[in-house]
C-alpha cells in the first residue's frame, strides 16, 4: 500500500467545488501540458461519463483549461481561465460525449496542438480526492500518475531500445523506481515510462534521442 500522507487527508488545497471534478481535472490537464512540447495553440477536451454531464456546474471546464495553461489546483486564476485563455490566444473546445459509456466515470481526452503543428492526445481519469492518472497517450494504453519524476520515451518497438534507455540513465546515476513499456502492437509505436526519485538532467534527452528507434523524449518533473 502506498503512503497516505497527512496532506492527502488535509488536502489537496484547491479551487472548489469538487476534488474529483475540479482539482482532479486540473491535475490531469496540468500533467498533459507537461508532456507536450512546443507552445499550445489549440486544445480540445472530450468529456465522458459524469464529466460530460456535470462539467459546467463543477467548473470542470475551467479547471481543465487552467491546468492546460500550467495553473496548479490551488491557483485562483482557474476561475477566470476561459478569459485568460482567450487573452493568450489559446483556442479551446469542450465536447461532451455521453454516448461512450465504457470508460471510467470521470474521463477526459485532451487533444493538444502546438504552434509547430505537432499533435498529442492524452486520456486521463480523475480518481477522487484530487488523485488522477493518465491512461492513454495517442490512443496507446499506458498508466502514469506523475507522482514521480519521469522520462517518457516514444519509440519504435524494436530490440535494444530498453537497454539503450537504462544505459543512458545509469550513466547519469539515475535510480529507476519503476519502468514499463506499453505498445500499440508488435513492431509499431511504443512508449517506455521510467519513473525515478531523482531529478532528471536535461541532457539525457539528447542522448536518448541518439538511438534511431527513439522518436521523442519527454521529461516530466513532479513539481
Amino acid at each position: 500500500m502506498s503512503f497516505i500522507s497527512v496532506f492527502d487527508v488535509l488536502g489537496p488545497s484547491m479551487v472548489g467545488p469538487s476534488s474529483s471534478h475540479t482539482a482532479g481535472a486540473c491535475a490531469i490537464a496540468y500533467l498533459a501540458q507537461k508532456m507536450k512540447s512546443g507552445n499550445l495553440k489549440k486544445v480540445e477536451f472530450t468529456l465522458y461519463g459524469s464529466f460530460a454531464k456535470t462539467y459546467h456546474g463543477h467548473g470542470t471546464d475551467r479547471a481543465l483549461l487552467g491546468g492546460i495553461m500550467g495553473f496548479a489546483t490551488d491557483d485562483i486564476r482557474i476561475r477566470d481561465s476561459r478569459q485568460i485563455a482567450r487573452e493568450r490566444g489559446l483556442d479551446f473546445e469542450f465536447i461532451p460525449d455521453t454516448a461512450e459509456t465504457d470508460v471510467h466515470p470521470n474521463t477526459v481526452d485532451i487533444r493538444m496542438i502546438s504552434d509547430d503543428g505537432s499533435e498529442m492526445t492524452v486520456r486521463g481519469e480523475s480518481l477522487g480526492g484530487g488523485k488522477m492518472r493518465i491512461t492513454q497517450i495517442d490512443h496507446v494504453n499506458v498508466d502514469f500518475t506523475g507522482d514521480y519524476n519521469a522520462v517518457i520515451v516514444t519509440q519504435r518497438d524494436r530490440p535494444g531500445v530498453a537497454a539503450h534507455i537504462t544505459r543512458v540513465l545509469s550513466e547519469h546515476g539515475v535510480n529507476i523506481a519503476f519502468m514499463r513499456i506499453f505498445r500499440e502492437s508488435k513492431g509499431e509505436k511504443a512508449y517506455t515510462i521510467v519513473e525515478s526519485d531523482n531529478l532528471l538532467p536535461d541532457d539525457i534527452k539528447q542522448q536518448l534521442l541518439d538511438n534511431p528507434n527513439v522518436e521523442d523524449v519527454m521529461i516530466v518533473h513532479n513539481q
Binding site: V6, F7, V15
Partner: protein, 289 residues
Amino acid sequence: MIDFKNAAELLELCDTNRWTISRVMRQRECDLGETGNEQIQSRMSRVLEIMKDSALSPLKSPVTSMGGLIGGQAEKLNTLYEEGKSICGDVLSTGITYAMAVLEVNASMGIIVAAPTAGSAGVVPGVILSLQKHRHISDEKIIDSLFNAGAIGYLAMRNATVAGAVGGCQAEVGVAAAMAASAAVELMDGTPRQSLDAASTVLMNMLGLVCDPVGGLVEYPCQNRNAAGVSGALVAAEIALAGIRQWIPFDQMLSATYQVGRRIPYELRETALGGCAVTAFGCGFCGKK
C-alpha cells in the same frame, strides 16, 4: 520508524511513548514522508491559513455558488450571532457559521482545503477555528490539532473510504466530523483514548447518512450537512471529555461505517438519483438547468 495501521496501534504508540495523537502523526509524516519537521510545519501552516481565509471571508463578502443554490448563509448566521439571538451558544454558533462559509467559498470556485474532501471541507475548520476564537488557543496548538484530525482521516482513507460515491455522506461529512471531534478533544487537553472515543461516537451518530446532492452539485444539502457535522463533532467531544467511555472502539465503528456504506444503494451515493436530489424541488432544479 513510527507507523500504525489502525486506531488500536495508534493508541498503543501514544501510551508507550506518552505522546499525543498529533505527535505520533507528525512523527509518522517525518519518517514515512522522508521529510523534516520544519517542512511539514510550514505546509500545515499554509493549510491553516487557507482554512482561516475560507471560513472568514464569506462573513463579510458573501458569494453566490456556481449552481446558484447557496451563498450568503454565513453572513446571515454571523448577523444572528452578533445580534445576540443565537440559540446554539458561542462555540457551536461560530462553528456552523464557519463551516457553511467554507462550503460557500468551495461552491463559488474559491480556494479551500479538502478535509478530507471538498464537499466536507467545512467541518474541521468550523470546529477548530471556533474553539480557537472562543477559547483563545494559539496557532501552534491549532496546527497540532490538524495532525490529530489527519490521523483519524488517514485511518478512514486506509481502512474504509472517504468517497461519497463509495460510502455515502457518512464517509465524507461523517469522517470529517470524526476528525474534528478527535481534534477538539486534544485541543481541550483530553486523552488520546478520549479522542478516539469521540471519533467513534460521531461515526455511530452519522451511520447511514446518504449522499444525494441536488443537481449533482457540491452545494445543497452539502452545506447544511457540514453544519450538522460541526454539531455532531462537538456533541461527541463533549461526551468524551466528560469521561464517558464508548463500548464500540473506533476501529470497529469505522468498519461498520464502511460495511453500511457498501450497502447504501447506488442511487444514494453521489449519483443525484435519490433522496434530496429527486424531491420535487430537486427535479425541478435539474429541469431548469
